[in-house]
Assembly symmetry: C2
C-alpha cells in the first residue's frame, strides 16, 4: 500500500503571508507588556520604580529622540557604555525599535579598546556613563575626527542624554521588516586577541528569550535582580525575557553584597544571574539570610563548587549552571536538573550540577567533536571541541569574513571549548582549545592543573600555559599568585602536584607573580602569558 | 547631528544560513526530551508508563512503518480517528516526522462527516479506533473506491496498526526543510456549514507551544492530564508543549470523573485543559478532594461561572480562561491574571476571570474592529469583531481559496466572534457574529438573552436566533428545553425576560423543543434553527 500526495496545494493565497506570519522580534514583548501589565512595576532602581506603561513611554521618547533630534538611519550602530541603569534597559528596545543596531560596551575596558571597537563598528553616536568620562575621552582622543558624538548619562537620570530624551516626542517602536535583521553587535572580550563584533538578530533574540522563560520559569510574579551586566550578551537575553513575562527588573548599577541582599529581601527577588565571583561574594556576605521564598540563581563561567552549592541550598537559593558564549547569545547550554537526582547524595548532586549540561529548548543539540567533526563517544572521558548551530548562534563576526569563516568551519560554530560527553548526554567542559598543552602527543588540560594548584592553601590564583620544548613539543608552565605573606618553594609545589596529577602533566616550571594579566571582564589573558614563556630561554 | 549607516554589511557569508539558522518544528522537542529526559515518564495510560526513551523509540517505529510498509510520500495526508490513547500522541510526531500531514478527526462525528472530510483532504490512510468501526465502515461505504485504507487501533495497544508498528524498523524523525511546511489539517466542527480544513505549520506549532509553556509554567516536574481531546487543535499544542518541558502526559481515553480524580491525585497532576462541561463534572464529582498541590486548569469555550471558580479555589485548583479557534492553533488569547487583582473581592475576581483576555506572548495583539476595520474604543461596551494575525494563525483553509479569502478580508483573520474591549485592553466576547440579531438597527446579543433565560429554574437549555420580520428586519426567537416535567407558559417567559432585558430585546416567540440540534462537539447548530424560523410563517 502506498500513500501518495494527491493535488497537494499548501499555500492557497498570498494573503497567508501577511495574515499567518509576523516577524519575530523581542520588541513585541515590550509592546505587549506595556498593554497587559501597564500598571505593574517594570523596573526598580535605587528608590525609583517605573511601571510598564511609564517604561514604555520612556522607550518611545528615546525612539523619538533617535528619530527626531539624532536622525538615526536604518542600520546605524549606536554604542552604549552604561552600567545597569534604567537607560541601559531602555536602549535595548529603543535602538532596535528605531531600526538601529545596538552596540553595548563593557564598562571595564581601556581607552584603546573603546577606540578600536568604536572605529570598527562605525558608530557615530555613543551614549556613555559620565563617571567613565576619562576613559571615553581617551578613546575619542585616539580616534580624532573619526570619534563619535558622545551624549552623557549621569546617575539619577541626569546628563544631556536624559535632558534630550525627556523633551522628545513619543514614537512607537518599529518592528523589523525581516526577523533576520541585525539587532546588536556584541564585542567579545578578546582573551585571544582583538575584540570581534558578534552579530545577533531579532529572530535569534526572540527565540533565545522564550528559551530563558521556559528554563527559568519567569512569570508576572517574578522579580529579577540585575547583577549580571546588561552589556554581557544583552544580559543573557533577560533584558527581553523579564519584560516578556511582565516580571520586574531590579537594576543595581554596582555590585555590593549589602545592596544585593537588600534587593533580594526587599524587592522579593525570585531570579538572578551572576558571575561566580559575585555568587561567592553574595553567599559569604554578612547580610546573607535564608530567603523566605526560593530564589533561582543562574551561574555561568565556572562550575559551582560543592561548598557553594551547600551554602546556597541553606539560604533557599537553587543554583543552575549555564554555559555559552557571546557568539551564542549567552547561555545556550543548561545543566537541566533531573527530578530523579533529588534523592542523590550531596556530593553526587554537586558533581552533576557542575556539568555544563544540554542544549536549551530553543537550541539545536550541541556536539562535541574530534578534528574530523566526528562526535566523540559518550564516555565522559574522550575530549573534543564543543560546536553549535541554530537560531541562537551569531550570524557571524561583523566585517570579519575571515574570522567568521574560521569559526564556522564545517558548518558549525566552533566554541574553542574542549569537553567530554557523559553517558547521559550532558556535556562537561575540560579546557579552552587554545589553552590545552600538547606534550609528547598527550593533551594536558590546564584547567585540571589549575584546580589542583588551587588546593594548595597558600595559592590564590593559578594559570597554566604551554611553553615550547625541544623534546616534548610543549610543556606546562604554571603562574601563581599567593594568598598571604609566605610562598611555597617550586620543589614543594612539584611534590604537591605529583601527588595529584599524572607525572607527565606536572608543570615544568612554577613562576610566582604579583598579579595575573586579565581582561576587563576578569578573564585571565593566557595569550600574554604564552607570549612571555615563548620569549624566555628554555 | 545625524547617524548614518556606513558600509553596513549584515550578512558576511553564506555559512550563516546553515550555522545561524534551524527550521522551527515541534518535532525537535521530542528529540531533545528523548535525550535529556530519557528515563523520565513520558506518558501514563491505564496502568502502563512509557519513558521518553521508550516513547521516542515507539515514534521512530511508527516512522519506520510509515516509510517502509506504507511508503508514505512527502506531504501525504494521514487521517487519525482516535481518543486520547498513546497511539494518538505518537502520531502527532510520527506523521509530520515522516514528512506527512496529520489529519486528526473528531471521534464524535457521523459517517457522512467522515466521508466528507476524508474525501476532501485526500487521505489514503486512516488510522482508526476499532470501537468506532461501525461509523468508519459507513463512511467507507459512502466513499466506495475513493475510501482510504483503514488500520485499526484496539484498546490496550492491540489491532493491526500496533501489530505492524511493533515489527517496524526505527527511523529517525525528519525535520522539515522549511519551517512553513504544512504540519496538520484540523477540520472545523461546522457550526456554520461543511467542515473546513485548517492548515497549520511547523513554525506555528513550535511558537504556539513555547507560548503554552510560558503561560502554563510547564516544567520537568509537571504532570499533564489529558481530558481535552488531542484531536481538538492538536490538543491546544499540549501534545508538543508537555513533551518539550519533559513533563508527563497522563492520557485518559474516556471522560470519567472518578478516573480524573484518581489521576489527579495518583499521578500528581499539575495541569489540565478541559471543556466547561468536563470542569463542572469534575468539580461536582463525589471523588472531588482538595488537592495537596496546586492544579492549574485551563478552560475554553465559555466563561467560568463564579460558583465554579469558588468551588475550584476550595479544591486548590487555579482556573484560567482561554479563547481561540481551530484557525488559531487553539487558544491565542488568555485571561492573564494580574497579581494586583489577588486582593479584589470575589465577585470582582470572577468578573475579571470570565473575560477572554489578551493575546498570548507569541501572538500578535488581537483587535476588535467595526465593519470598516477600525478599532472599537476600549469602553467595555462597543461591540466589534475579533480579528487576528500572526504566526499562530492558520495558513488558510485547505483547497478552499474562496473561504480563505473571505476569512482573511482586509489582511486579518475574521473570527466571527463579537466582543468588547475593556479599558485595560482585555477582550470579552459578547456573541458570534452570525448569531447576533439586528432588530430595528439595534444589535441584540443572543448570548445575553440565553443567559437571562437560563436563570429561569425550569429551563435547561436556550438558543436564540433571529427570525425575519417585515417591520424590524429581524426579531429574536427563543428555543428552550426544560429541566423537569412541567414547562413555563410563553407569557410567563415574556414577563420573566421583561424584568431582565431591554424591551426591544425580549424574544418575540418562545418555542419549547425536546432537544436542540448540536454538532459532534456539543455546539448548538444555530444555522439549523435559523433555517427553521425562516420557513415558519411570520
Amino acid at each position: 500500500m502506498s500513500v501518495p500526495p494527491s493535488n497537494f496545494d499548501q499555500r492557497p493565497s498570498l494573503a497567508a503571508d501577511t495574515v499567518a506570519r509576523a516577524e519575530l522580534s523581542p520588541l513585541s514583548f515590550l509592546v505587549r507588556s506595556a498593554d497587559v501589565w501597564s500598571e505593574r512595576p517594570a523596573i526598580a532602581h535605587t528608590n525609583i520604580v517605573q511601571t510598564y506603561a511609564e517604561h514604555h513611554d520612556r522607550v518611545r521618547q528615546v525612539c523619538g529622540a533617535l528619530h527626531g533630534e539624532l536622525k538615526l538611519e536604518e542600520g546605524a550602530r549606536v554604542a552604549v557604555l552604561l552600567p545597569n541603569v534604567p537607560e541601559m534597559l531602555e536602549l535595548h528596545y529603543a535602538v532596535p525599535g528605531a531600526s538601529g543596531v545596538l552596540v553595548p560596551l563593557n564598562t571595564r575596558l581601556t581607552g584603546s579598546d573603546y577606540a578600536y571597537i568604536l572605529d570598527h563598528c562605525g558608530a557615530r553616536l555613543l551614549i556613555a556613563y559620565e563617571p567613565l568620562r576619562e576613559v571615553v575621552d581617551e578613546a575619542r582622543g585616539r580616534l580624532g575626527s573619526r570619534a563619535p558624538e558622545v551624549m552623557w548619562v549621569e546617575p539619577g537620570r541626569r546628563g544631556d542624554w536624559n535632558q534630550m530624551v525627556s523633551s522628545g516626542e513619543l514614537v512607537d517602536l518599529r518592528m523589523p521588516a525581516d526577523e533576520n535583521t541585525l539587532l546588536s553587535l556584541n564585542y567579545t572580550s578578546g582573551t585571544t586577541g582583538r575584540p570581534k563584533g558578534v552579530m545577533t538578530t531579532h529572530r535569534g533574540a526572540f527565540l533565545h528569550s522564550l528559551g530563558v522563560i521556559a528554563e527559568a520559569g519567569l512569570s508576572a510574579r517574578s522579580s529579577y535582580l540585575w547583577t549580571l551586566p546588561m552589556f554581557h550578551c544583552n544580559g543573557w537575553a533577560y533584558t527581553w525575557a523579564v519584560t516578556a513575562a511582565g516580571a520586574q527588573h531590579v537594576a543595581l548599577s554596582e555590585i555590593d553584597p549589602a545592596l544585593i541582599w537588600r534587593a533580594v529581601l526587599g524587592e522579593r527577588v525570585t531570579h538572578l544571574c551572576a558571575a561566580p565571583t559575585v555568587v561567592v561574594m553574595m553567599l559569604n556576605a554578612p547580610e546573607a539570610t535564608r530567603c523566605p521564598h526560593e530564589v533561582k540563581l543562574f551561574v555561568g563561567g565556572a562550575p559551582p563548587a560543592p561548598a557553594l552549592l551547600e551554602r546556597a541550598a541553606a539560604l533557599n537559593i537553587a543554583v543552575t549552571h549555564l554555559y555559552g558564549l557571546t557568539e551564542t547569545y549567552g547561555p545556550i547550554c543548561v545543566c537541566a536538573w533531573n527530578p530523579a537526582w533529588d534523592e542523590a547524595a550531596a556530593d553526587e548532586q554537586a558533581r552533576r550540577r557542575a556539568r555544563q549540561g544540554v542544549a536549551t529548548l530553543v537550541s539545536q543539540p550541541l556536539r562535541v567533536v574530534d578534528r574530523d567533526m566526528r562526535d566523540v563517544p559518550r564516555d565522559g572521558a574522550t575530549i573534543g571541541e564543543v560546536v553549535m548551530r541554530g537560531n541562537n548562534v551569531m550570524l557571524g563576526y561583523y566585517r570579519d569574513p575571515a574570522a567568521t569563516e574560521a569559526a564556522f568551519a564545517g558548518g558549525w560554530f566552533h566554541s574553542g571549548d574542549l569537553g567530554v560527553v557523559h553517558p547521559d548526554g550532558y556535556i562537561e567542559l575540560r579546557d579552552r582549545l587554545k589553552d590545552v598543552v600538547i606534550s609528547g602527543g598527550e593533551n594536558i588540560s590546564t584547567i585540571e592543573l589549575e584546580q589542583a594548584l588551587l588546593e594548595h592553601p597558600m595559592i590564590a590564583e593559578a594559570a597554566v600555559v604551554g611553553a615550547p620544548d625541544e623534546r616534548w613539543g610543549e610543556v606546562p608552565v604554571a603562574f601563581v599568585t599567593v594568598a598571604g605573606a609566605g610562598a611555597p618553594a617550586p620543589d614543594e609545589l612539584r611534590q604537591f602536584m605529583r601527588a595529584r596529577v599524572a607525572r607527565f602533566k606536572v608543570p615544568k616550571r612554577f613562576e610566582r607573580v604579583d598579579a595575573l594579566p586579565k581582561t576587563g571582564t576578569g578573564k585571565i589573558q593566557k595569550f600574554l602569558l604564552r607570549e612571555q614563556v615563548r620569549q624566555e630561554p628554555q
